[in-house]
Symmetry: C2
């Protein structure tokens, strides 16, 4: 790509915080650059003729194989502390891109933060051309991340916790049908605290967003729970 007709908007990127849920713990998708021991959030760039939201969706699909993911924008990070060109330079050198001195990737970047919440088990993350691996990490066992990516995750989590009630419908975190206990586990994993079973049940039902289906017989020695699904609007 030449600088006269750039394919991507310079100095602007996005980073996505992909939350995944395994049944008990909340995890985050982190990638590692080739031989660098450099861990980062999956991010990317916006084409000059592409909507911001579309760019983020495109990047996420390329990296997770998942389509039709609900993404929520939460903050744009524009501090000059983000400017660490050495890191990107090393990454590019590993790639063999060493020619250009003022390559656009070495510029200063303002990044738009997005987050998504998906069902862990539906995803087979695939590393892209820049990265060595892409893996799920427990929230409390994150590796050291490049630049301000740790801060980006904290801010994403804060937003997720505040807007949980309104946003959970849109995220496909649970299977089509699920039990009340599973739903509660999602809430507890995200909020990081345990909730009262009886009150949680009542509150969820009072929101009038759940449809009750037949009971689920698991073979366990206890009462069979109802299955629920989200009412589609």
């Amino acid at each position: 790509m030449t600088s006269s007709t750039p394919e991507y908007i310079p100095n602007l990127s996005y980073d996505s915080v992909i939350f995944g849920f395994s049944g008990e713990k909340l995890k985050i998708l982190i990638l590692e650059y080739h031989n660098m021991k450099t861990y980062a959030l999956p991010g990317g760039f916006v084409k000059t003729n592409e909507a911001l939201d579309d760019a983020v969706k495109r990047g996420l699909t390329e990296r997770t194989g998942l389509d039709k993911i609900y993404l929520e924008q939460f903050h744009t990070f524009g501090s000059m502390h983000r400017f660490k060109p050495e890191i990107m330079k090393r990454i590019m050198e590993e790639q063999g891109d060493i020619e250009e001195k003022d390559h656009w990737l070495l510029g200063r970047f303002i990044t738009v933060g997005y987050y998504a919440l998906i069902n862990y088990k539906n995803v087979t993350p695939k590393p892209d051309f820049l990265s060595d691996s892409i893996e799920w990490y427990d929230l409390d066992q994150l590796p050291e991340l490049m630049m301000d990516h740790r801060e980006i995750i904290e801010k994403a989590l804060e937003h997720l916790r505040i807007h949980l009630d309104h946003k959970l419908l849109s995220f496909n975190l649970l299977p089509e049908k699920f039990t009340m206990k599973e739903l509660q586990q999602v809430y507890e994993a995200i909020l990081g605290e345990s909730l009262n079973r009886a009150n949680f049940q009542r509150k969820m039902l009072s929101l009038n967003i759940l449809k009750r289906h037949d009971k689920l017989y698991t073979g366990g020695s206890h009462k069979a729970p109802f299955l629920y699904s989200f009412k589609k609007p």
Copy 2:
């Protein structure tokens, strides 16, 4: 400015929604471009070596004369529907800037939205070099705005309403000392609804963020109200 060493980040702008309060109504600062009947939010661009937040503060100070304003970022707008180069072209032609065909200002822009809430009376807005006038407009009497600026205002207002309790402390909308009635008028103007006086008083006091001072004798034939100020943390 030449394209080889750009002063500003291309394709990225900010727009600021400046809410002002006059004592009864909420107003917004809108500027008009020279002889264009084109109304817009005050916005600007980010220098390549400047923090995003700093750029927004700089622009606001240039246009309002006010310093140390608390600004809150709320959303980044990146749709391709924003791309209307004709408008900017006409503005530049009015200015006499007609030479460059692919000038950076004619590109597609992703814009970061910020809002602020200030005391209307402390401000003497000054038009910048591009604009003819800069005026306060009532929320319900806005002129037709360029591009998606109307949508940006709606989204700012939504954020302001939701986060009012947490953010009012940081905004210098009221004088140092104010009465409970003045505080209530701010809330009512922002929320767009009237509130019960007795309950509002109790709720505000229960938040434990107000310091009570001496009474204010206005000369009105009624009980003198207490003055309050926000407790500084």
